[in-house]
């Protein structure tokens, strides 16, 4: 292939360089013009006006991950349903059947999680 193949990446490299310079320039400018007045309260967590009363790094129930996993199930379903909906008329009945099979397989997953007790909050 011609050298153009690599030359076409040049614009991306230039853009990257420009980005870095731009950010450095902004930070530098803000350094130059800012006023410095540090006091401890500036370091506290901003909690919509309420005084923070404990460390924000507190442990929370790991059980949430199961809901995150189940969410993926529906997420993937939605990702595939949208393009299907767009060409629903062209796909016709065959497309409908195929999608129903796909959803059935996902339903198997949901039922599995259900029967295994993943939806119970212990």
């Amino acid at each position: 292939m011609t050298p153009d193949y690599y030359v076409s990446y040049l614009s991306i490299a230039l853009l990257g360089l420009a980005d870095i310079l731009f950010v450095l320039a902004l930070i530098g400018a803000s350094r130059l013009v800012q006023r410095r007045n540090p006091y401890p309260q500036k370091l506290t967590t901003y909690e919509c006006g309420i005084e923070p009363f404990s460390d924000s790094w507190s442990p929370f129930a790991i059980r949430y991950y199961i809901f995150a996993l189940l969410f993926v199930l529906f997420d993937v379903e939605a990702v595939f349903l949208y393009p299907w909906a767009v060409i629903f008329r062209d796909m016709g009945f065959t497309g409908f059947i195929e999608m129903m099979i796909f959803i059935t397989v996902l339903l198997f997953g949901l039922f599995y999680a259900w029967i295994k007790g993943a939806l119970e909050w212990v």
Binding site: M1, T94, V105, F108, F111, I115
Partner: protein
């Protein structure tokens, strides 16, 4: 439309069974779960039957995403045999560890489907989906004893290195697509052969793909996960992982190296030869010092990967058909003997880690003559001593390498094979010539499944050793029809 689905009937059967097992497993009482393994074996048998009926078909399906041909059929049959034996070996072990769950069988079936999709795909996207299906299922399988620290560690290590390797493969594939504009193996191969691609990018793509496959099959310097994973994961899972993903990896590697990169063999043959030699060296020498049998088998499987890579390097030559056929035969022999060797470890194990150390084998010949005898067969086969499958496998492999004009390489391979004989024979010495230090206490529980699985593997190893021609002919047939040799 019907045509498309026809090509994947075995896969559909396995997927349906996996889903059904998942669904009925939680509804069953704990002791009712024994039947699930048989359901899995039955599904594999049915899938095998449908594969048999499809054996003379040859067509591509799903818009050239997958192809059904003799090559695919050969490997599908091999994967089904691996899955059946692995499932038969599992039940007793799972029960001992109170982890007899249907999920296990579902995961084995899904991993098998992944291996099938990998092998039958002729499109890099479909291949990658198959690879990930297989890999994700095996990560979970490695950590199936989730109350066992070693098992969890194995799972995590396998996941991290495996995911890393997948990105390598994916990046390599993306580059191949980037420089050729195609996702179909044949079209990529033709575009590369036409010489119309930037050479440096192609070299990077080749290196990335080889590195990724190196991780997956456990070739040096990408092998470090293997001993820890095999040692930590449940023994039947280690048996499955040591043969299934490797067979699938090599099935794809043959296709990749001939169909896609066949015209570029000058670029990669040297690299593969170097990897093969280092792999054999590390595998053979590290296995010498292992006292843990699972680790020993892990390094031994690394050494076997080295032999297989020798033949891959020969497949860039004109005798490619013979080299590839010898790899296919070797994979079948290797699958049976390695499953069998791990199977005997399952047979000996109780619910602690007993039976995994070399010293545990002392006096086995007297106490369990059958188990000792069968382990002797597998060890002889792994060492490559006739009349076992391992002998013919190595014989054909080295013959192919010599035919390719790489006689010195075959010599190196034979040399390492000689070294490896030491640690296989040491196992036999321990079983028959050492006295146990204390009175042995093994779980005397008999399991029909386990005996059947071990019996199948042993009979297979001996049959392939005494009468190898049907399988070898099938392998050569497959290559004649498919890769156009």
């Amino acid at each position: 439309m019907q045509h498309d689905l026809l090509a994947i009937i075995p896969e559909l059967m396995l997927i349906a069974t996996a889903l059904v097992i998942l669904l009925i497993d939680p509804l069953l009482p704990p002791d009712g779960r024994r039947g699930l393994g048989y359901l899995g074996v039955f599904a594999c048998a049915m899938a095998g039957l449908s594969t048999w009926f499809l054996r003379n078909e040859e067509f591509t399906a799903f818009n050239d995403a997958i192809s059904l041909d003799r090559y695919t059929i050969y490997f599908k049959a091999l994967f089904l045999v691996i899955a059946v034996i692995a499932m038969l070996l599992s039940e007793k072990h799972l029960e001992l560890h109170r982890r007899l769950l249907g999920d296990y069988y579902s995961l084995i079936l899904l991993a098998t489907v992944g291996m099938m999709v990998m092998t039958e795909s002729i499109d890099i996207m479909t291949f990658f989906v198959g690879l990930e299906l297989m890999a994700l299922a095996s990560y979970i399988l490695a950590g199936f004893f989730r109350y066992d620290e070693l098992s969890v560690e194995a799972s995590l290590k396998y996941f991290l290195t495996g995911a890393f390797a997948s990105t390598f493969v994916l990046f390599g594939l993306a580059l191949l697509y980037g420089i050729t504009g195609y996702t179909n193996y044949q079209q990529i191969g033709e575009t590369i052969a036409a010489g119309n691609v930037p050479g440096s990018t192609l070299v990077i793509a080749i290196i990335l793909v080889i590195a990724g496959f190196g991780f997956k099959v456990g070739a040096v310097p990408f092998h470090n996960w293997a001993p820890d994973v095999y040692q930590g994961s449940p023994t039947p899972v280690a048996a499955f992982l040591s043969v299934g993903p490797k067979a699938a990896g090599f099935a794809v590697l043959i296709k990749f190296m001939t169909v896609i990169l066949g015209s570029e063999s000058g670029t990669w043959v040297g690299l593969i030869i170097a990897i093969a030699i280092v792999t054999m060296l590390v595998g053979a020498t590290m296995a010498l010092v292992q006292r843990d049998l699972k680790r020993m088998l892990a390094y031994s499987s690394i050494a076997h990967v080295g032999y297989l890579l020798l033949a891959i390097s020969a497949s860039g030559e004109e005798v490619a058909a013979f080299a590839s056929a010898s790899i296919m035969f070797y994979l079948a022999a290797y699958a049976l003997m390695n499953l069998g060797a791990f199977g005997v470890l399952v047979y000996l194990s109780n619910n602690s880690s007993f039976g995994n150390r070399l010293d545990d084998l002392a006096g086995l010949g007297k106490q369990f003559p059958w188990a000792a005898g069968i382990l002797t067969v597998f060890m002889l086969s792994l060492a490559g001593i006739p009349p076992t499958a391992g002998f013919f496998a190595k014989f054909y492999l080295f013959a192919a390498v010599v035919d390719a004009g790489l006689a010195w390489l075959a010599m190196v391979g034979a040399l390492f094979s000689l070294v490896s004989a030491f640690y296989y024979l040491r196992v036999i010495v321990y079983m028959y010539m050492r006295q146990p230090e204390q009175e042995l206490e093994r779980s005397g529980e008999r399991s029909f499944d386990l005996n059947l699985g071990l019996g199948l593997a042993a009979v297979g190893v001996l049959l392939l050793g005494l009468y190898p021609s049907p399988v070898l002919d099938a392998a050569q047939d497959a290559l004649l029809m498919v890769l156009g040799f």
